[in-house]
Symmetry: C2
Subunit: 240 residues, 2 copies
């Protein structure tokens, strides 16, 4: 890739949003960290940056969506259905990366909430009919994303129905040290990715770790070669 993009993180004030903001900025992109409350976003960004000079700006969600080449959805699942309809116009046909895990928690531990559309990502696709929705980054531990001294150590499984959008997000995943983008196929696979987060969260609690996952026996040369084939089959893979 190497191209600088503007990444808009909607609902980006939580640990996942802050971590992705940091990692995308460290990868050379400009980041708009969005919140319902622009003041709160600006405060979070000031904390996040400390004395680091990185191009991260705190703004309202609509401004983050409007200014972005690629839009990440990182708010809690409960907020998605209420937030997206008002942003559909400004998001238009952009690439949208849904990172949301619709999880509940009871006395048996974490579980996947029932989503009528099949997954959080498919719900987003239903609410943003023109957008090119991709599901990704579910298994990147927020705590590690947010600590630039540490490797994230997870494969980022990327699902989506638009091959060019999938290819773009595979490239973004590869830009985070320790992450590897892996093509997981069509958007309907998102439900299995989101469900697997419940497994990982349970393992984290049981073993007291911040786990990710690796696809074993997927050599890096092969992975890069086949990801590049997807890119060349779909043009630049860049945003429209």
């Amino acid at each position: 890739m190497g191209d600088q993009l503007t990444i808009g993180l909607l609902g980006g004030t939580g640990p996942q949003g802050r971590g992705l903001a940091l990692r995308m900025a460290l990868a050379g992109h400009r980041v708009l960290l969005g919140s319902r409350d622009p003041q709160r976003a600006a405060g979070i960004v000031a904390d996040l940056l400390g004395d680091r000079a990185l191009p991260i700006e705190g703004v309202g969600n609509a401004d983050a969506a409007a200014g972005a080449d690629v839009v990440f959805l990182v708010f809690p699942f409960a907020g998605q259905a209420g937030t997206l309809p008002g942003l559909a116009e400004v998001i238009g046909d952009k690439v949208v990366v849904d990172v949301i895990n619709p999880l509940g928690w009871d006395d048996q531990g974490p579980y996947l909430l029932e989503v009528p559309e099949g997954s959080a990502a498919e719900q987003a696709a239903a609410l943003l009919p023109r957008a090119r929705v991709v599901a990704a980054f579910h298994h990147a531990p927020p705590r590690l994303l947010a600590d630039p001294e540490r490797q994230v150590e997870t494969d980022v499984l990327v699902a989506g129905d638009d091959p060019a959008a999938r290819s773009l997000v595979l490239g973004l995943a590869d830009q985070v040290p320790g992450c590897r983008g892996v093509d997981a196929g069509p958007l309907r696979v998102a439900r299995y990715l989101e469900g697997f987060t419940a497994v990982i969260v349970g393992i984290n609690r049981r073993y007291k770790i911040h786990a990710g996952l690796r696809i074993s026996r997927l050599g890096d040369d092969r992975r890069r070669r086949l990801n590049a084939q997807l890119r060349s089959a779909t043009g630049s893979g860049g945003p429209r």
Copy 2:
């Protein structure tokens, strides 16, 4: 562990059953490879053994269930609901390891079939009300299981509601070179494990590999220590 068990593989004539038979026998267990047709089971075992001297015997499913300390379910999902009711009596309260992935395939690739009970493993638990059902080994590539010259290279995520049964199966997983048993929690998690097989099967097709999965940042010392705590909290972890 170190204890020799008798492992019964029901519907064990497919690649998964043959591979598990080999690996369990190589780990020092006695194996009853079951089929509806005992003659067919005997023929498959003769092929599988070649000139290896391993304690694997081909028998009917009911004999495999009756003679086993631990029963593996390795038939195709479509066969489970028809087969188990007739075996519930003979299986009784044994540990049952459901390895079945209820997958379909269409023009978009692999997907999880809808199972009213939530997962193949929960269906087995409903049909075998006294058994201690555990879901495991979904992500071990059959091709690698069946080749004793190769490492299997996958974590074996183990889900079940009976901690002693889960602990036993974690130990069996550790006996396969390249596999690591990881405690995935209660049986309801089986649906996420089965769903993730659809992801892996899609990745296998896309990248032309035999993938497994690893939980990253789960160090082996920690894993063994916490698995041992589960074992000591539940007694020997052996079959009743």
